[in-house]
């Protein structure tokens, strides 16, 4: 699975850095380093509703530091059948 966190201007200001850090923690905590690739994306075009994150081909908007772990659980853990 590929997770791309938007680091465009708007999303950056809304906390992309913190979300990347959170996702790194989640990946490490679940031992998913081999199956999940975390990367940055340059502007996913959803600037008004950041932070935007692309989970494979699905764009999830409104990710924040608070809900990052829930989003990770919902989209990554459930899909990978855990």
């Amino acid at each position: 699975m590929k997770i791309s966190v938007c680091v465009g201007s708007s999303c950056h200001l809304k906390g992309s850095y913190k979300i990347i850090e959170k996702f790194k923690e989640c990946i490490a905590a679940n031992g998913l380093e081999d199956s999940v690739t975390l990367q940055a994306a340059f502007c996913l075009g959803k600037c008004t509703n950041g932070v935007s994150v692309k989970m494979d081909d699905e764009i999830v908007c409104g990710v924040s530091e608070e809900n990052a772990e829930a989003v990770f659980n919902q989209y990554v853990l459930q899909k990978s059948g855990r």
Partner: protein
Amino acid sequence: MNNLCTDIGYTSVNKAGEQLCGDHVEVVNQEDGSVVLVLADGLGSGVKANILSTLTSKIISTMMANNLSIEDCVATIAATLPVCEVRGIAYSTFTILRIAGQREAEIIQYDNPHVILLREGKHIDYPETAMEIGGKTIYRSRVALQENDVFIAMSDGAIHAGVGSSLNFGWQREDIIDFMEMMYDNDYTAKTLSTLLVGECNRLYGGKPGDDTTACTVKIRQRRPVNLLIGPPSDPADVGKMMALFFGKEGKHIVCGGTTSTLAAQFLHEEVVPELDYVDPEIPPTAKIRGVDLVTEGVITINRVLTYAQSYLADNSEYSKWGYQRDGASRIARLLFEEATDINFYVGRAVNPAHQNPDLPINFSIKMRLVDQLSDCLRKMGKRIKVSYF
């Protein structure tokens, strides 16, 4: 004509407790491309020294720029400068550097520490001819220029640094030569070299300079263009034209902005590959596009570059950050401040609807203002700037 140009940078620290500097640097760029630079050190310190050195450097630079002889300059100064009540003399020492046609430097020195010439980072001596004008001994030299020649002029505050505190007799011109040879790096700008020297003097003085201390560096270098693209054009039909003009330019290419870099990648038939590294948590990560030298986010990054530019023009205190860090803003700063002599901005005026959100501290007018302010700063650094809007 050769392709050489001059990079001039100077900086000063004031004598401890003084608000005004008694040293003054004046630079006159002439239409034929030659440059006249005068570093004057007024007698004493504070207001009086400031007036003496300002008058001296203004008079000499204006007269020399109009091709009047050095004899006339000295006579004019002697007749014009106000006489010090305490000491009964009118006095300001000076160093004149005239770079003519990027081929030859003429150095005229009166009582300042003699100009240091580094060629490829190594000190070399140059011949001097002494002459008497109005009872003053003035040294005159001519040096044929080579690329990477560095001329360092300084006021006597530099060689007195450390007297009585960290060094008994101050450090001599020879010590300054050793220091500058050791610190020298071909990538350093004139301003950086001046900052290094004055910073070291200030350190030797223990942060309390006993005299106004100024260093002024002239570096002879090749002209080097850098091109920066920011923002999509206001009319989407102009994308192809804007990209073709931008990528057709000689020199390095910087692309700023998420949408802008996507468009640039499409034009080049390449992919935008973002990096995950947040080197500096405040500056969004950079990306890579094959065929582009640097790809960064837009407004936030450029805003930081502007902060660095303003610092560079003042005391250059942010150099320890932008001089070494790998984040987008620092890398743009190094390309624009150090490497470039000619900078072409390609500015797209499209309005990003997402940036009009009142919750965000970025909007269209801020972006335009950033480019204006940054190009002003770069002009003050002596760069040739061209801004094209689309």
